[in-house]
Amino acid sequence: MHISEGILSAPVLVTGAGLTATAVGYSLKKMEHKEVPKVAILSSVFFVASLIHVPLGPSSVHLILNGIIGLLLGWSAFPAILVALAFQGVLFQIGGITTLGVNTLNMAFPAIICFYLFNRGVRSENNFIALTLAFVCGFLAVLLSGTMVAVALVFTGEPFIQVAKLALIAHLPVMILEGALTVFCIGFLRKVRPEILEI
């Protein structure tokens, strides 16, 4: 879901970088020193998850997990995702410097939306409610990310509309997969280590 270097137009790049810089600045200010290791842990989980390929029909996709990152971190998801994407850029040449702002925004904004929408719900005492919301959370995070990628492409130029549509459609199965994964993962954490969810 990374947008590579050289594709987006200057206004889109500048908007992405500006919004990401503001959000990262705000969240760093809110973050306490003792939280830094925890944020770094989730940042690296996000990084490592992108290396885990799971089969999906004839091909395979890598895990995204921005929904879970949002649930666990709230606003700190912004710096966490920024750092992970920066490392992906330097180590694997995936994404890049000029697109770092846009790519971080596309991943982290949905994470924060999920935090505000489902923060209480997935910690609910009712298991059924919690797990249903976990599915919606995983699904919605990818849907929003895909939509934002599409919007970034369309704002770059109208001829990209087809590419944008394709990108969004290709992510439909991924949304369902991420939803299912989020259900099991949240279910696992609720059973094994509820402290992580701060229940």
């Binding site: 594709i7 770094a40 290396l51 330097v90 000029t98 590419v163 954490l189």
Partner: protein, 247 residues
């Protein structure tokens, strides 16, 4: 293991001050990304290829990195020539291939490849620790720099944790397929990674507090900018500025 494949070597770029490299790469990438003139973009590609040659990297490895990037660009080549309005150079049934579309796809290809090549030649020739150290000197917020340090450290431990868990799965005959069982297993694997790394982060932080950590990282070996670093920086920046003049 996650390796910094290009970071070892003794070329000019391997020895150059990382601060200079970061500034030049950033400047180059931004200028190329917003440029849309062919003359300056061909110039940029020329500079990028020259930089990779100077960095004396393994060609095979560089090409394999480029292939990954270009696989996505290839997709654009399949679509853009058909979706662009303008003069048609060739018609294929109801589909017309427009010249504008081809030009645009070429533009993106040059931009993308030049930025990636310069990134490989300049940034990837430093170790991550040096780059992050340099970010500190470039006055990024303290907490962000610490995040970079910690994250890089944990990426390795979490990745080896993943490999350990994955081996345990393989030994028990787990074969990933498209079914719910597979997804459940992977979700539990991620959950376990989270649990283990949470515990680890607590231990590490407590150990740091014991050793007097007060929220500040001290650096022991500072960069020493030599005159050569300054000179190289100025030459490279003027090359990049030359690109602006070309357009």
């Amino acid at each position: 293991m996650i390796k910094e494949k290009f970071s070892k070597g003794d070329s000019f770029f391997h020895k150059l001050d990382p601060r200079v490299k970061i500034v030049v790469t950033l400047l180059f990438s931004v200028i190329v990304a917003v440029s849309d003139k062919y003359t300056s973009l061909w110039g940029a590609l020329f500079l990028a290829v020259a930089a990779v040659i100077v960095a004396r990297l393994r060609t095979k490895e560089v090409i394999s990195r480029l292939l990954v990037v270009n696989s996505f660009i290839f997709l654009l080549w399949l679509m853009l020539p058909f979706t662009f309005q303008g003069e048609k150079v060739y018609t294929l049934g109801s589909l017309g291939i427009s010249q504008e579309g081809i030009k645009y796809a070429l533009l993106i290809t040059i931009k993308s490849n030049s930025i990636i090549l310069v990134g490989i030649a300049l940034l990837s020739t430093s170790s991550i620790f040096n780059l992050v150290h340099a970010l500190r000197h470039l006055h990024l917020p303290d907490k962000l720099v610490q995040l970079f340090f910690f994250t890089y450290r944990y990426i390795h431990t979490i990745h080896s944790e993943y490999i350990r868990l994955n081996n345990a799965l393989k030994i028990r005959g787990f074969k990933p397929q498209t079914n719910l069982h597979t997804y459940k297993t992977y979700a539990y694997l991620v959950g376990m990674m989270l649990v283990r790394s949470y515990d680890r982060s607590k231990r590490v932080y407590n150990a740091m507090l014991c050793r007097g950590f007060k929220g500040k990282f001290w650096t022991l070996n500072h960069f020493v900018s030599k005159k050569a670093d300054f000179a190289a920086g100025i030459v490279m920046i003027s090359c990049v500025m030359g690109l602006v003049l070309l357009s």
